[in-house]
């Protein structure tokens, strides 16, 4: 299989950056997208050229490191999938594949396809934790939680912080991420003591980091590899209203 990659090359945060063409032969359909990039990098090493910088860690869809914008979609052409789970069989022989880094004011490019997503970490720092002493794992049934509540919290907790929601959003809004983190903790008894403060502080940080306003295009929930529902954002809005009124 042979494809042409058009890959964003940028030496550093201040470099202007540009798309560069790479014709790559010898790929197979069974290769993951990242393996295809690995293959290309090996060829570049042999040619004594600078390798392409991109991020990954687990390569099994759970760490959220591998965010890349591929052919106009966050994490490539499929809905609800990480880049590491994308395979070359999703493309055709002879395709041109445009590969760009996540774009957002709050995600400055570090190098090539790597962006700095620490803005998301700083949102977490403002309240994405609980203050209860945890110690060793408690007996599972000591705090009874209904299944519907547990399911909902678990669904929200599935967010892996990949940033695809921000990347795909025309407003670079981090509302899906932030709402997932807040709804996860606020719907459980362990998260109740600081629930209002969490809502106010985390959303304040979200604005401070330069993320945009959510206008409900719905693109985020399509691209989110964990299928976090956009209803989370509506619920966050209800929580903001409540937190503002109740302090």
């Amino acid at each position: 299989m042979k494809v042409t990659f058009q890959i964003w090359r940028q030496d550093g945060p201040t470099d202007k950056g540009r798309l560069k063409d790479y014709e790559v032969d010898g790929l197979t359909e069974d290769m993951s997208f990242l393996e295809a990039l690995d293959h290309l990098n090996e060829l570049l090493v042999l040619k004594n050229e600078k390798v392409i910088a991109y991020e990954y860690d687990c390569r099994e869809g759970i760490c959220g490191q591998c965010g890349i914008f591929i052919n106009g979609r966050a994490h490539g052409p499929h809905a609800n999938m990480t880049t590491c789970q994308l395979h070359m069989r999703s493309f055709n022989d002879g395709d041109t594949i445009v590969v760009e880094p996540w774009r957002a004011q709050a995600f400055p490019v570090v190098k090539d396809l790597i962006v700095d997503r620490s803005a998301l970490d700083r949102i977490i720092e403002q309240g994405g934790y609980i203050s209860a002493k945890t110690g060793t794992a408690p007996e599972a049934n000591s705090i009874p939680i209904g299944k519907d509540v547990a399911d909902k919290a678990m669904d929200a907790a599935a967010c892996i912080g990949c940033g695809a929601c921000v990347a795909t959003c025309k407003n670079a809004s981090a509302a899906l991420f932030t709402s997932a983190k807040i709804n996860h903790l606020n719907s459980l008894p362990q998260g109740k003591p600081e629930q209002h403060r969490r809502v106010l502080e985390m959303t304040k940080q979200m604005a401070y980091e330069g993320f945009g306003h959510c206008t409900f295009t719905g693109a985020c929930e399509v691209e989110c590899p964990e299928g976090i529902s956009i209803v989370n954002i509506a619920e966050l809005n209800a929580r903001i209203l409540k937190a503002r009124l109740l302090g």
């Binding site: 407003n171 945009g212 809005n237």
Partner: protein
């Protein structure tokens, strides 16, 4: 952030309610000429003289003003949050064109409102342009203003065609307003989404056919 979006949502919802009343009254225009003229002029005179309507009118101006103002602020800030565009972006695969372009669509509607106010509000209330006569019942003949305007095919096309972006804007706007204001019941939102589409279709088609009907009357 939340405050700005809530202002857009609340003012938008108020404008949605207003459109229902506005369209209901405009359906009078579909009646045969003899009945329509008297009924329409009587209705608009009642409105103009009612103190309640005066308050509502100011709420209406305020809603339009803040809806546009915060629409511009939010659009500006959102653009700043996304300074680099993608070279290739297939947003049509994950969202509707309407939801991606509410600002642009809104500008068409604003253009419409300006022209519409110049045609009616400026003539009837401010007395700018050709003076408006009285009908046989002694009411200001707003019907005549409407009727003569829609003898001009360009105005008919303008009024009819611009109801298409209005429909798009209302469809996305109505369902989004609910989410912005914190309505998060999952099944409820599915219903809201259907209602938005039905509402937007009725408004768009309803307002859109009136100029055509008057033209061909």
């Amino acid at each position: 952030m939340f405050l700005r979006k809530s202002i857009i949502a609340t003012s938008g919802l108020f404008l949605c309610l207003f459109l229902i009343v506005h369209l209901s009254a405009n359906f009078i225009l579909l009646l045969p000429e003899e009945v329509a003229r008297e009924a329409y002029n009587g209705y608009s005179t009642t409105l103009r003289e009612s103190p309640v309507i005066k308050v509502v009118a100011y709420a209406l101006y305020a809603s339009i003003f803040f809806h546009v103002l915060y629409g511009i602020i939010v659009t500006y800030k959102n653009r700043k949050a996304k300074p680099h565009r993608y070279v290739v972006n297939r947003s049509q695969e994950n969202s509707t064109w309407t939801s991606q372009n509410m600002g642009l669509i809104g500008m068409f509607i604003l253009l419409f409102i300006v022209v519409h106010l110049a045609n009616f509000w400026a003539r009837v209330k401010l007395g700018i342009g050709a003076p408006v006569g009285l009908d046989s019942a002694g009411n200001v003949d707003v019907y005549e203003v409407t009727y003569s305007l829609f003898q001009n095919i360009y105005f008919v096309l303008f009024y009819t065609l611009l109801m298409i972006p209005l429909g798009w804007h209302l469809d996305h706007g109505l369902k989004s307003a609910f989410k912005t204001l914190g309505f998060y019941h999952k099944k409820g939102l599915a219903v809201v989404s259907k209602i938005s589409l039905i509402y937007a279709t009725i408004m768009s088609v309803g307002f859109g056919i009136i100029p055509l009907v008057v033209y061909f009357k």
